[in-house]
Amino acid sequence: MLDKNGIARRIAKEIKDGYYVNLGIGIPTLVANYIPTGINVVLQSENGLLGMGPFPFEGEEDPDLINAGKQTITTLPGSSIFDSAMSFGMIRSQKIDLTILGAMEVSENGDIANWKIPGKMVKGMGGAMDLVASAKNIIVAMQHINKVGESKLLPKCTLPLTGVNCIKKIVTELAVLDVLPEGGFRLIERAPGVSVDFIKQSTSGKLFTEADVKEMELN
C-alpha cells in the first residue's frame, strides 16, 4: 500500500518531456518533488504563473508571489506571469498537457466529485470545474477507500459533481486504474504488497482485471 508520497511518485512517472502541467492542492502538489530528472516540464499555477519554482529560502518570501494553494513560491528562468482570465484561457484552449488533481469520489463513467459535502464542507470548487471540463489529460490522485474501508471508486458519485465523464486515469494507495470509455474501471497496476482480490473488494464500481496484474514500479 502506498502513502501520499508513494502516490505522488507513481503519478510523476506519467509526466513527459515538454509537458505543461497543472498540479492541484494536496497529493498533486507533492508530484513536483518526483518529476524525473533530465526532462523539461513547466508547472502552471492557475492564479497566473507558468514556470513555478520551489519554495523560497527563508527570508526571501515575497507576498506578491504565491501559488494557487496560497503558498509562497519562486519563479524560474523563463517563467511568465498573467492575469486570471488568460490563465483559464490556456486551460480551456487545452494548452496545458496534463492536469493532476485530488478527488473525494470518482464514478465508473468518469464523473468526479471533489468540491462540496452538503451541510458540512463549503469551500468551493476553485478552478477544479474549469480544469476537468477542458483538460485533455487528467490524472486523479485519491484514496481508494475511506477511513472505515468504504470504496470511493463508485458506480455513481454520491456527492455534488465537479465534472461529468472526464476522468480517464486514477492513482490510489492501492492501484493504477483506467476509466474505460464504455464505463467501468480497468486495473492496470497494483501497489506493492496489495493483492488483486483486495483491490476488487475495495472497488464498488465495476472493475475489470486481467489474469496477471503487474506491480507498480516507482521512481
Binding site: 506578491d64 480551456r92 468551493g124 476553485g126
Partner: protein, 233 residues
C-alpha cells in the same frame, strides 16, 4: 492627460452606498485592495454584494467586512480559509454563490470587452448548470454565463500614473486587470503613484481608460497566508 488622482481611499469610495455590487481584486490575500477595504469598513456601508475570488481570512481582507456584517452576498470560487464566512453561510445569514474560478475571471473579462455573455464547459452536468442556458458546439456542451454587472471595481496595482495606467507586480496581478476592466466605476490603489510619462507605454497592463480614480495607498501589510520555505543546504 486626464487626471484621475484622488487623495485617499475615503475620497475614492465616497459614492459607494448600501446595497451596491462591488468587485474586489486579489487571490487569497495576494493583491487585495487593502486601503479600500479598510475605508469600506470604516464607512460602515451595508448590504454589499461582493464579487471576489476568495473571502479573505477571519481578520484580514474581505473577512473584515464579513465580521462587521457588511456583506449581504458573496460571489466567489473558493472560500476555504474563513471560519466566520463558513459560519454565516451555514446559518443562512450570508447569501453565497460559488462559481468556477475560470467562469469568474471570464465573466469579468466579458464585461471589460463589451460582450454580454460567454460560453464555457465549466460546470456542465453539475449543480452550477442548474437553470442555465446551454449550447452544443462541435458535439460538446457549454453553459452560457453572463458578463458581470458591477457598480464598482476595487483593484490593487503596484505602480500607476495619475492618468490611471496600471502595472501589476508578480502574481498579485491575478484578477485585478480583468476586474479593473469590468467595473462601471473602477478605483485603483497603487503602491507607487507617478506622473504621466514616467511609465513606459509598452509596459502598461491596464490602460487608464478603464480606471476612474487612482490613489497611492499606504501602510500595506501584504499578509502571507501560507509561508512556505526551503532550507539552505
Amino acid at each position: 492627460m486626464i487626471n484621475k488622482k484622488v487623495a485617499d481611499a475615503h475620497e475614492a469610495i465616497r459614492d459607494i452606498e448600501d446595497g451596491k455590487t462591488v468587485m474586489l481584486g486579489g487571490f487569497g490575500l495576494c493583491g487585495i485592495p487593502e486601503n479600500c477595504i479598510a475605508a469600506l469598513v470604516k464607512k460602515g456601508i451595508k448590504d454589499l454584494t461582493c464579487i471576489s475570488n476568495n473571502a479573505g481570512v477571519d481578520d484580514f481582507g474581505i473577512g473584515l467586512l464579513l465580521k462587521t456584517r457588511q456583506v449581504k452576498k458573496m460571489i466567489s470560487s473558493y472560500v476555504g480559509e474563513n471560519a466566520e464566512f463558513e459560519r454565516q453561510l451555514l446559518s443562512g445569514e450570508l447569501e453565497v454563490e460559488l462559481i468556477p474560478q475560470g467562469t469568474l475571471a471570464t465573466r469579468c473579462m466579458a464585461a471589460g470587452y463589451g460582450m454580454p455573455a460567454i460560453f464555457t464547459p465549466a460546470g456542465v452536468g453539475t449543480e452550477v448548470a442548474e437553470g442555465k442556458e446551454t449550447r452544443i458546439f462541435e458535439g460538446k456542451e457549454y453553459l452560457m454565463e453572463y458578463a458581470f454587472d458591477a457598480d464598482f471595481a476595487l483593484v490593487k496595482a503596484w505602480k500607476g500614473d495619475t492618468a490611471g495606467n496600471l502595472i501589476f507586480r508578480s502574481t498579485s496581478r491575478n484578477f485585478n486587470p480583468v476586474m479593473a476592466m469590468a467595473g462601471k466605476i473602477t478605483i485603483a490603489e497603487v503602491e507607487i503613484l507617478v506622473e504621466p510619462g514616467e511609465l513606459d507605454p509598452d509596459h502598461i497592463h491596464t490602460p487608464g481608460v478603464y480606471v476612474h480614480r487612482i490613489f497611492q495607498g499606504s501602510a500595506y501589510e501584504k499578509r502571507i497566508e501560507q509561508r512556505t520555505v526551503r532550507t539552505q543546504d
